[in-house]
């Protein structure tokens, strides 16, 4: 199958997974799933499954990476070998390195780093099962894990990717739409203010299409944020 052969929607405007253009995949979140971590979260987003663990704050070693005035986030995003149809060989991976960096930049924008000078906070993101939008799942799970660990933040980052396939702007791309589509726009949004801490884009979008993608992402972020808050409240609000 090549580009242009994939039909993302049928005649009634229904996508392959039964959604309309402006609907999100199903999202479930649980916190405290890694008992030995200071904070952790599991997210199931469509067929994606990701876990995030937070350790720290702790002394930053080696000394040369320490910052006198604030903490640093030490973020690792990784895909497990069995997470994709074709096995991923463990080891250095440029894509994972890049995603680790942009995730760190996103999260450092909201964490109150000045509270813990000279220390580091480890954020470990592992993709257990991949569909599409794994970097978004990772950032979102990491936000919940940081909250679960009691790390102070001015807001929780919610990340989601809209895009375009067969000329139709779509909310929350799934795998074939991501593979065969014409554009994708992942964003990291602060739901309290609709400000951004993460932004990437690949493909071809007119200004109108771009704005619609943006709006879709903001709307989806609010929906996911409610699920994040619910997961945290269930953990701390009285469920034994």
């Amino acid at each position: 199958m090549g580009y242009g052969d994939y039909q993302c929607m049928d005649a009634n405007g229904i996508r392959e997974d039964g959604r309309k253009a402006d609907e999100m995949r199903a999202v479930e979140i649980e916190c405290g799933v890694i008992p030995v971590a200071d904070g952790s979260a599991y997210i199931k987003w469509g067929k994606n499954e990701a876990i995030a663990a937070v350790y720290g704050p702790m002394e930053a070693h080696p000394r040369k990476i320490q910052r006198q005035d604030r903490a640093i986030l030490d973020v690792r995003y990784n895909m497990a070998p069995f997470s994709t149809t074709d096995r991923i060989r463990p080891g250095f991976n440029r894509r994972s390195r890049e995603i680790s960096k942009v995730t760190k930049d996103a999260l450092e924008s909201v964490v109150d780093l000045e509270l813990y000078p000279r220390s580091k906070i480890r954020v470990e993101i592992e993709i257990i099962c991949a569909e599409a939008g794994t970097r978004c799942c990772g950032i979102t799970a990491a936000s919940v894990a940081l909250a679960d660990a009691g790390i102070p933040m001015s807001d929780m980052v919610v990340s989601v990717a809209a895009g375009k396939c067969n000329g139709v702007v779509l909310m929350d791309l799934n795998k074939p739409e991501d593979n065969y589509g014409e554009a994708d726009l992942p964003m990291g949004i602060l739901p309290m203010t609709d400000e951004l801490v993460f932004l990437q884009m690949d493909g071809d979008l007119s200004m109108e299409e771009f704005k619609l993608c943006w709006d879709y992402n903001v709307k989806a972020a609010h929906d996911v944020h409610a699920i994040m808050v619910d997961a945290l409240q269930r953990r701390y609000g009285g469920d034994v």
Partner: protein, 263 residues
Amino acid sequence: MATPIIPSLLRENLAALAADDARLDGRSQFDGRDLEIEVDCLANAEGSCRVRMGDTIVLAGVKFQIMTPYPDRPTQGGLMTSAEVRPVCGPNWEPGPPSPESIELGRVVDRGIRESGCINTEELCILPGEKAWQVILDLFAISDDGNLFDAFALAAIAALRTATVPAERFDVGEDYKLEVKGAPIMCSYHKVGGRFVYDATHREELGGDERIHITLGNEGHVHSLQKGLRGIFTAAEFDEIMDAAQSRCAELRAIVAEQEASL
């Protein structure tokens, strides 16, 4: 792996507890922790299993690739085991190249499976001299509260026994169940406070000494052994844990069979 500080009070307490035939969490010497096991839990793997022992949680994934057989073994496929203990699973696991600890983990689990002969790589042939299946077992630690060895080994065999060869995806025939003869099971014993105990927690490992891993097959045959870390043990101590392993391995084997039957 960062070497954690071993609290001296911990070692003293473990010795006092052992003298009293007790353990930190109230278990008896050869009791295992609460066990949860679930197969077929990873959508993109051809075989999978999640195991939880106490607060230790691991995943095993089985994936298949097509390989070219070696010229001197034209009908033989392959089995490869890779264990990843990434920083996600504990405060002391550091990023970087695989540590000696995680390499040992992978190799010990691999030997237990390989030496049992439960997978006959000659049966993985697709086209002699040209194509054969390579079975790749990926072990992945999610939470390390001790005894990753047994958790990995159990998840591994359960994943293998419930794996499907994806012939259709590779256009070489119809999917079929991977043939696995028997179920080798590993039991690990850690010397804590001067005596061997089963299914040690992270804290017991921290304050403990040497460990012994025993893999037994269906008839109670011994398929692999490994002694790790510093320490000295006697033949009598070994006999005692081999006894314990015989019954525990049989119990775990039955649990794996239940999981298979549930699919």
